[in-house]
Symmetry: none
Subunit: 222 residues, 2 copies
DNA sequence: AAACACCAAAGTTTCCTTAGTTTTTTTAGT
DNA sequence: ACTAAAAAAACTAAGGAAACTTTGGTGTTT
């Protein structure tokens, strides 16, 4: 009787194992490898092997490597966006919010081998461009909202041109990922980004905002 | 009249008994083969043959191979849990208990071909994930109880963060099964796990606890 | 800068095995 | 003898492993 119950539960669970699952698995699995080793050094054979499927099956689900990289990047971008959107509703103020953005960026940079950005930019320039424009639409809008929120709350300087600041910030992030300026062998990507992020914040806050920011920084250090 | 009634009851009873018996046999029988040869190399034909039933009968009781792997894993997990729960009531103290856990783990590893874990993780990732979360709920809780018991009895250090230790221990076990770190061709899985288990115990005990642990170790060597 | 050679990896194809299903044969019970 | 159930055998489709072909990135030479 009890045993039959368990068996029933497991049967229902098994039904989810279908087509969408395979594609999702492929994206997640390839993302793990790309994050760890970059794109160029991860072969399609490796991905198939990692997933326990044949190359044939992989190609039945994915047109080619280029498409896979796109899908992976889109997936990651969507996730990132989703995480950002959650912050608007769960943070107390603009400083808390921008501080959480920094924390999230830190986590992302920790789990991604910097060679990933290099590889995509160089070998998959279309993918790079695709997300370059999406970035301005989505994340850019998000930054503008945060800036406006901070101005309203009195934490950011009221004379900020929010559009200029948005463009500046987004270019700064991209610029700091550029290995021409900050060669990987000389600079720690995480350090560079965090340095520039703090610099940006310090440039936009009021006295009141700075005090609050220092508090959050202190809280994070403990 | 009465005779006809009894006969009906017995028929219903034996039908239920037969059904449960077959499914149980299938799980136990497939578990024997999976433990010995892993999952991938054990075919449904082999299982049917091993059990002396036809493939048709096998599929009348089990939806598909995926479901069978899940059922087998659940069955094994339940057994493991049951065995663990018995230890709380039959052991004299926390050291005795954790020592018995080590003994049980040793027995389990002895009877399982390591390729089983590899196969499930790679080819049945959903099954792997299913039991990953269950692990933290059940076995994690059990470890915390043992740690709290040991602290109360004076065998474990009172400043232990039991939650941190639980998560650490569970991740350690999983990590030691990872063939990326410990290739099967170079390492004996049992040795690795026992080494790490002893190291873990030595890290949590008081002086008093260590003396007692040494006693149990000595007793086991004889 | 262009041409060339090399070779690993992307992408494709082939052959085989196995999961799952169906049909045929055998067995057991009445 | 009859029938239902189970076993054995045959079948189909899908997926895996391996082999094969093509491509593109890189290095060398002119």
């Amino acid at each position: 009787m009890v045993f039959a119950k368990v068996s029933l539960v497991l049967s229902v669970y098994s039904l989810e194992y279908n087509y969408m699952e395979t594609k999702e698995r492929i994206i997640e699995g390839s993302m793990e490898l790309f994050f760890k080793y970059g794109v160029r050094s991860v072969t399609m054979d490796m991905i198939a092997s990692h997933l326990g499927i044949s190359k044939k099956t992989l190609y039945e689900n994915v047109k080619d490597k280029n498409t896979l990289v796109e899908m992976m990047a889109q997936h990651h971008f969507d996730q990132e966006q989703h995480d950002l959107e959650k912050l608007s509703n769960t943070t107390e103020n603009a400083i808390d919010e921008i501080h959480q953005i920094a924390v999230q960026m830190k986590q992302m940079i920790r789990q991604i081998n910097p060679i990933l950005f290099f590889d995509i930019k160089r070998y998959y320039p279309k993918v790079w461009q695709l997300f370059d424009s999406q970035k301005y639409d989505c994340i850019g809008g998000y930054i503008i909202n945060n800036l406006e929120r901070g101005i309203k709350e009195g934490y950011y300087r009221p004379d900020l041109d929010v559009k200029v600041m948005m463009i500046f910030k987004m270019n700064q992030v991209e610029w700091a990922f550029d290995t021409d300026f900050f060669p990987i062998t000389e600079f720690n990507l995480l350090d560079v980004q965090m340095q520039l992020f703090e610099h940006f914040i310090r440039g936009i806050v009021t006295k009141k905002g700075l005090e609050l920011f220092e508090k959050y920084k202190e809280h994070e250090a403990n």
